[in-house]
Assembly symmetry: C2
Homo-oligomer: 442 residues x 2
C-alpha cells in the first residue's frame, strides 16, 4: 500500500478552508478493504489516531486532521465493481464520487437517488454524513439508499452489515449505526447502493411569491397532498442574486421576492400533468403571484442557478453555513427568524434549501468585520439560531453533520443521558478512541 | 404502580404456546414512562432480570420469562395521546394495539401504514421486532414508520430518540438501534408514529398460475416496474386450503395452484387503472392462466382468506413458523426448496407470504410424529432451510425477530466479529445484562 510522509495541503484542509493546514504524520492510499484492515490493525496496535478522508467536500471540518494523525485516503478506492440488475444494486468502492456514479449509470434505466450539492463528494463521505440533497423529499436521504457495506473496525476487523433483502429483523440494526457516524466508528470501504428506476418524464415549475410568508402554505399543502415532487426548493432573492452574479446569468423572469422551485416526474404524461396542475393550484390558492411551468431550457437554467447559490456566496468572501432542520410547518418561520437574527447581529445572510424537508441552508457572510468581530458575530448568531431551532423541535444538522464546526452546540439538542449513550457506543466500537477523535462530541 | 405476585398464564406464555408457563416473580403494570423508569431503577439496583411483555402475540418466544424474572407489562399504557395534523404524527403509549390505532384513525384521512398479521399486537411490540406485514412493499416496515419515542434504559434513565424532522445528521442513529432489539436494550414507552394520507381508491386483483415457477417472473417484473402495489402476496394451495377450512369459505374461483394477490391504490381512477393493467399485462406475459380484478366483495373475501392462513394452520395442531427473507429473485426458489425439504424430512408444510419483499412464511406442521421425532424433524428442517437461505444471501428473520426460537441459527448468518459487536452494544447499554437476558444471542 502506498504510504507517504509528505502530505499535500488538499488532504490537510477541507472545503471549509481552515486558516491553517491540519496536522498529520503520514497518509495511506489503500486500494482494497484488506489494505484498510491492515492499516487499521497497525494504527490500533500503535495507538495512532486515524482520520479517513474522501474528497474533502465536507462542510463541518469533520475530516480536518489534528495532533499528528494518520490520514487514510480512500481516493484510490475508486472502482465501480458491478451493477446487479436482479436486485437493482450498484457495488462500489467508497472512494467513487457521485459524479462517477452518475456518469456510469447514464446509459441505464436506473439512477442513484441521493443528490447532495457537491457531485465531487465520495460516496463513502456521503455515507459518513448521511448526506441529503435535492431529491430527499421523494427518495429519502443517503441512509435510505444504502443496502449494505463492508466496514473496517478500529481493531482492523472487517464486518459486513446490511444485505440485499428488503426486510430485516435479524438482531440490532448495525447498518444504520455507521452511516452518519463521521468516521468515528469504522471505515466504510465497499458499498452496495440501491438504484431506482428512472422516471420517463420530468418537468419543473416555479412559483413566485411577494414574500416568504406566502411560501409556507404552499409547502405545507404540497407535502400533505398525494403529489410527491422529486424536488421542492426554496429560492430567495439574496441567494439568487449571488448565484446570478457568479454564473453571469439571470433567472427566468418570474415576479416575486421568494420562489419555490418544484420538479415532478412520472412515467406517463397524465400523471405528470396531474402533479403539475395540483402544485399550481395549491400555489395559487396560497397566494402565488405566478405559478409557471418551465421549458426544458428554462428549467436547466433555473437549476443551474439553484446549484450555484453556495458558490456565489463563497465567492463573496468569508462565510459559514448552517443546515438546521425543523418540522415542516416551522420552515418559513425559521427562514424569517434567520433573517431577523442577521439584522440583529449585523451580518449579511443568504438562504436556500430543501423546503419539502424542512431543511434550510443559512449562510452568514463576512462584510467589514475585523477577525475578532467576525468570530464573535458567528458565535452570537449561532447561539441564537440554534436556541430557536431547538425550541421548535428542530435538529442541529440535517445533512452536513457535526464535525468540529457544530460540536459545541450538540448539547442544545441532546441531553446528558443521550450524549452518554453516544459515548458508550463509541467506546464499545473504538475502545482506544483512535478513529477521528475530537469530532462530533468529546 | 400496580404490582402483583400472582401472575396469570397469559403473561407467562406467548402465542407460540410453550409447553410450560415461564418463570417470573412479579408483574408490574406501569401507566407512564416515569413509572417504567422507577421500576427499571429498582430492578437495576437489585440486579433483577426484566422481561417487557405486550400483547404476547410474538412468534419467537421473545417475551417468554425465565429464571424468576420481573415482568413489566405495558398493557395499561394504552392511551392514544394526540394526533398532530401539522406533522402527520400520532402520539401513543406503547401498549396501544394496532387495532386501537386503526379504529382511532377511521374517521380521518390518514392511516398508520405497518400492517402485521395480528392486529392485537401492541405497537411497542411491533417496534421491538421491527414488524413488517402486508404493506411493507410500498410503505416500508415498522422502522420506517416510527419518527421517535421515549425509551427507558436499563439504569432507569429516560431518553428521547428520533424527532419529527425529515432529515437527521445529528450524531449516531440511536432511533434505529432500539427498534428490532426485542427489549434487550431498553423499554420503549411512548411513540410518535408517522401517518400516511389514505389513497382515495383501492382495488385488488388475483393472478392464477399453474405452478410456483410461473409466479417468479411476475413478481420480478412488477417490482421493477413503475407500479407500486400496496400489497403483493403469494398464496399457495396448501395455505389456502387450511384457511378455507378454518373460516368455512371458498376463495373466488380462479384456476391455478399458486396465486398472486395484489392490491393497488391511487388518488385517481386513471392511476388506478394504469396500475391494474400493468400488473395484468406483466402477469399474462409471465404465463398467468387468469389475471382478474376482484369486486369489492371478492377482494374482502380473498383478504379474509389471506389473513386466516396462519389461524388455519394453527388449528391443525402443533406447528412452527419461519420467516426468512431472500433477495427478490430467489423468492420462488425458496418456496420450492421449502417444499422439497418438507418432503425430504417427511413433514407437512404450509407457505404464505410477502412476495414483493422476498419474505415467505414457512410453517412445518406436526402429523403423527412422536414428541421426540417432532423435535428432531424441526431441527433437521431448520438446519437445511437456514443453510439454503444463508447461501442465497438471505436473512434469518424478516419481521418476527429471533427471540428464543432462532437464536441457535444466528451464527449461520453473522460471523463472530458481527456477533461480538452486537455483544459490545448490549454491554454498553445494559452492563448488568438485566434486560430480557438470553434472547437473540448469548
Amino acid at each position: 500500500m502506498q504510504i507517504e510522509k509528505s502530505i499535500s495541503d488538499k488532504y490537510l484542509k477541507t472545503y471549509m478552508a481552515e486558516d491553517q493546514a491540519g496536522s498529520a504524520d503520514l497518509i495511506a492510499f489503500p486500494r482494497s478493504t484488506e489494505e484498510v484492515a491492515e492499516f487499521m490493525q497497525k494504527a490500533n496496535s500503535q495507538n495512532q489516531h486515524v482520520v479517513t478522508v474522501g474528497s474533502q467536500t465536507g462542510l463541518t471540518s469533520a475530516t480536518y486532521p489534528t495532533n499528528h494523525a494518520w490520514l487514510l485516503s480512500i481516493e484510490k478506492m475508486n472502482q465501480i465493481i458491478s451493477l446487479d440488475e436482479q436486485t437493482l444494486t450498484l457495488n462500489v468502492q467508497a472512494g467513487v464520487t457521485l459524479a462517477d456514479i452518475r456518469d456510469y449509470l447514464k446509459g441505464t434505466p436506473y439512477f442513484y437517488a441521493p443528490d447532495p450539492g457537491n457531485k465531487n463528494a465520495s460516496v463513502g463521505g456521503t455515507a459518513s454524513t448521511n448526506a441529503g440533497g435535492m431529491r430527499a423529499i421523494k427518495y429519502g436521504v443517503t441512509r435510505d439508499n444504502i443496502r449494505g457495506y463492508d466496514v473496517v473496525l478500529a481493531n482492523g476487523e472487517i464486518m459486513h452489515v446490511g444485505s440485499l433483502n428488503k426486510k430485516d429483523a435479524t438482531a440490532y440494526d448495525l447498518k444504520d449505526l455507521f452511516i452518519g457516524a463521521e468516521g468515528t466508528l469504522g471505515v466504510i470501504t465497499e458499498m452496495q447502493l440501491k438504484l431506482t428506476p428512472r422516471p420517463l418524464y420530468e418537468k419543473s415549475l416555479i412559483l413566485g411569491f411577494a414574500s416568504l410568508d406566502g411560501v409556507a402554505n404552499t409547502i405545507f399543502e404540497v407535502v400533505k397532498s398525494p403529489v410527491q415532487p422529486i424536488a421542492l426548493e426554496l429560492l430567495e432573492e439574496s441567494g439568487i442574486h449571488y448565484s446570478e452574479q457568479f454564473i453571469d446569468k439571470e433567472m427566468p423572469a418570474v415576479p416575486g421576492q421568494a420562489f419555490l422551485l418544484a420538479t415532478v416526474a412520472d412515467n406517463g404524461h397524465a400523471g405528470l400533468d396531474y402533479q403539475l396542475e395540483t402544485i399550481q393550484e395549491l400555489g395559487n390558492k396560497a397566494g402565488a403571484i405566478e405559478a409557471r411551468e418551465l421549458s426544458e431550457n428554462e428549467a436547466s437554467e433555473m437549476w443551474q442557478i439553484r446549484d450555484n447559490i453556495l458558490n456565489g456566496i463563497v465567492a463573496q468572501g468569508d462565510w459559514k453555513m448552517y443546515d438546521p432542520v425543523v418540522p415542516n410547518h416551522y420552515f418559513t418561520n425559521l427562514v424569517i427568524e434567520g433573517k431577523r437574527l442577521g439584522e440583529k447581529h449585523q451580518v449579511k445572510t443568504g438562504f436556500f434549501g430543501h423546503a419539502g424537508d424542512g431543511n434550510i441552508h443559512i449562510c452568514v457572510m463576512r462584510d467589514t468585520q475585523s477577525d475578532q468581530e467576525w468570530e464573535a458575530t458567528k458565535k452570537a448568531y449561532e447561539h441564537d439560531l440554534f436556541t430557536y431551532v431547538a425550541n421548535h423541535g428542530g435538529l442541529l444538522t440535517a445533512e452536513h453533520g457535526i464535525g468540529l464546526e457544530k460540536k459545541d452546540y450538540l448539547s442544545y439538542f441532546k441531553d446528558e443521558t443521550y450524549i452518554s449513550v453516544l459515548r458508550g457506543i463509541k467506546k464499545a466500537l473504538d475502545p482506544k478512541g483512535i478513529l477521528n477523535p475530537g469530532k462530533m462530541f468529546d
